[in-house]
Symmetry: D5
Subunit: 142 residues, 10 copies
């Protein structure tokens, strides 16, 4: 039987000479509410620019699982996961977005970032904006 784990494994960045971005959408986060003991759910998104190390996908999955039976507040757990990931990978930039499921009729999302001292992002080059539902390929006569 598999086990959850707090250990985040890494592998060497295959292209350390270049600032590039990795985006990981993680829809399966759940923990417990510290006040009521009831389950909380969130979808996480991790965005980072690796430096020497990348986070290994399978260990990330087990790490996310490790919160399943632990009590955490929304704001705190988002910052905690970011910090764990920063410690493990020492990235040039990292952002964690946590979209929590609705509580009390209110939908909460928390977004926290880390920037390596001295690192600066390239200016974004915005060549164009593309509408993914363009007439060139999505219209469908049924």
């Amino acid at each position: 039987m598999a086990q959850s784990s707090k250990v985040l494994e890494t592998f060497p960045n295959p292209a350390p000479g270049r600032d590039y971005a990795i985006h990981m959408r993680i829809p399966e986060f759940t923990c417990l509410c510290p006040k009521t003991g009831q389950p909380d759910f969130a979808e996480l998104a991790l965005d980072y620019v690796p430096d020497g190390l990348c986070v290994e996908l399978k260990s990330l999955k087990l790490y996310i699982w490790s919160f399943r039976n632990e009590g955490r507040f929304h704001e705190a757990v988002t910052n905690e996961i970011l910090e764990d990931l920063v410690k493990a990978t020492a990235p040039r930039f990292m952002r964690l977005t946590a979209k929590f499921f609705v509580r009390g009729g209110i939908f909460t999302t928390v977004v926290a970032e880390h920037r390596k001292a001295g690192w600066e992002a390239h200016t974004r080059v915005d060549l164009a904006r593309f509408d993914s539902q363009s007439s060139t390929n999505t219209g469908e006569a049924r």
Copy 2:
């Protein structure tokens, strides 16, 4: 100052010789939870085939408003509003759909219908299905 009202006014159906449908989307329904006293919200949709009478739009608005300070359960209030509308207009067919806002992480919708004794719907004629985001007019290069 305007007043809410339980009175549903009507006007004579201008085309009583034909079965035809009226759909009214009503996004501004709110009442109170009978247990906790806290506000509840819903979007209603009314669909009906009028017989001799149609419901007057402005009085419908004041009627919807009349629940603002009253305690009602989801299942009960949907049936109650349907019955009030049936009493006022004696329609050939009427359906009320109430999409309540999330409570306890669960999204509840209640749908109730009335059919006049002996009335039967025409078979639906399904000429075609049209995709509203077709390439003939919605693609947009930006």
Copy 3:
């Protein structure tokens, strides 16, 4: 200068031997509210199975325009336009859908149909349902 017109012109159905459907979306309908004199707006959709005659597109446009300065109630005008079109084209089947712009916080749509005596629709053949935003052609990495 062009003129609006109540005359609906027609042309002979090029395929009278077959039941087939014509759908016309008409987003530019406006008339006046008979009570307040203020403008009302709607998007119309016409669906029909022609018999001997089809409605001519340009005259339909001028006919729609003819309501611009006339007072009409939602339910009545939908039935009136349907009847005018039925008189002009004597179709096997015709449906008019009028989606009126919001009034009093309520969105009203009226749908009226005409069936030629004795005409019956073919059973709909539902070969499949296609999602127009499928991964085979609409995903877009940006």
Copy 4:
């Protein structure tokens, strides 16, 4: 601290004289994979026509929670939850839809239904189809 529970509480149907529908979307289901012990996730949808009893929302929430630490296969757990709900409420009709999160690159959904012996649904009255992104209210110039 709150507790999960296998007990499904009910309340008397406020409109037993009428067939009407209740739809509950339940996005927070999680259990364990019996083979690997790893978490599984699903979004459930419950649709039913109550007879004498309705399911109480809060107890439904605690019941859904009760699977959190239990091993269940996709096909089996969908049928099990349906059966528990049928036992608790003896509905005229009930359908449970479970959309499981992707495993092995494959997205599985299971849909199971129960019909009370002798019960038959009214023929669906399809007055019209409304496109929720119509020009009457959703276009937005930004």
Copy 5:
């Protein structure tokens, strides 16, 4: 240089023992308006249940191209293409949907069908309806 062609080539249906459906979306149709000589555009969709023959994709493309410099009215050309395809493949069922680009502010779609004498469609089995934008896989925290 390639040439357009009115010849529709076919190949033997690999599964003639079964009624099954083929859907082809063809976004690149253009012809000329017989009145004004100006270009018209449409997106076509072909749905059919083959009998002994299937239409060959490449010849279908050249056939569609063959209308590029020919004058055709909307209603007529939809029926003509359907008839050509029926002659070439003698299908059990065939439907052609032509969504023409807007003219005079009106969006016209024409849908024509052919059924082989004596052929009847299986009753549609509607196991479930799936929302393609479900939370199990499309939510995306950015």
Copy 6:
């Protein structure tokens, strides 16, 4: 009976100490084409940062109505409405977007802005981007 009007009424800005934005979507604009006399339609969007005055909603509605029987070109009328609104409210910033309905197969939008001399916008703070169709609340198993 109500009357259209060229007069734009205002009320004092309740928070003049702060730069804040007001967005008004106005889907019911229509005027006439100066060349052909035929109706034109557009959806307007007004965005502004008020200074001492805000535009009053009801008078804005009557003002929009006042173009109903007047001839105006697309580019000119967009600038004219902007200027009228600027004169009436003397805003810090104002943008008018006019999305005209399709003519000649081409969809035209005109966007004009006014900035008060010396006024500068705060840098936009982009905390995060939220996908409104996130898995936390929109997936729906049906």
Copy 7:
């Protein structure tokens, strides 16, 4: 290293007493074009009502993989996969939908079904239709 396989493994249906549906979306199908040797791609969807056996997810994945280096035509391979699945599981009902990626500017989808002799579907109970982008939970002010 894993191996693709033509063997479809099964497990006993946990609820054989009931007609219920299993839907599996399989976005990772690829094979080769028998004419050109070039890769083809499709997204498959499997819908079935199990009888004694269910298809095992992992073996289904390896089976799908097994077509990677084999030449197959669109119409033929859809029927072949359906037949293999029918042989392996002897279902009450099964439908395979294959949405192939665009070739020659044309988007082809093939849909094939199998029904066990004597089996008939329950009439579909259509309690209601729910719009997954309803105002009760998806609007998002950003």
Copy 8:
């Protein structure tokens, strides 16, 4: 029975050393129109960068409720709620967006911001833009 309240409770920011963002979508706001006494509705969105304090979710809910029977104009109430929240939490940055339901055919949204003196936002790092309806996971063959 619960009570609405003007008191906004707070808790200590668990990560005061970092600028991070909290987004709260609040779809259940309603107040009264000061002129007519009729109900108004809005969906609020709160975005903020906490300094020493975060707003407590439950008290926020009761605070929102407190406007239910109070008369407020759109522009004024948006600024008032922002100010109350700023007073309670003294944030580094805060933005309140209020999307009011349609009145007079016009859809009004008000957006107000507060910035702590001397605070400046980090430059936004735009690693990439992700289309949430990408082919990697949302296409669905049905």
Copy 9:
């Protein structure tokens, strides 16, 4: 009969004192592939800030039509059309976006810009971002 034309007609900019934007979506572009002679299709979008002249809509339509029987490569024709439009109108800024229909399984879009020497755009004022599918007006209970 109408004729296509390479002549782009203009009219004097009605508001030359202000930088404002005109956006024209042109879904009906087609030319020929210079290599194969087969038709190519694209949707164009023109964005510009006029200086002394605006492009006349009808002549633009005839100009677009003029490419129908001419061979052009994707990258070249986008730049050529931009240059023709720049020559005709001498704008302060102009951008042409051409979204070509899929070829070889690849979807190509080309975007080219012209800026008048010395012209600089105003900084974009981003008052707010509005979700066009907000709960204030698009949710629809059906």
Copy 10:
């Protein structure tokens, strides 16, 4: 029979005097997982500003195919393809986005960029933002 190839062919940029953008969406990428030997899938998007050379579409297709039987990690292959394209075309700017299909419940996207030494992007001119589902052309009454 066609052959995959590692050779990327080019053609001279037809407009080298201008910075302009080419966007190519490539939905048909597949390679193998170096650890398990199982297939991986991704949709690629290439964005570039050409200098002297453009990449030829057909050779790009064969190049993408060349990874079909090769083992590659997500992060590494994205950088490798970018580098191959940079070597072949020496562009002013190039970005490659690779959206990999879900593995372990996590959706990974990798985005890498190259900028020619000394090249700087023009400031983006943001004339306006257009909602592609505007009321001017996409609403559809059905």
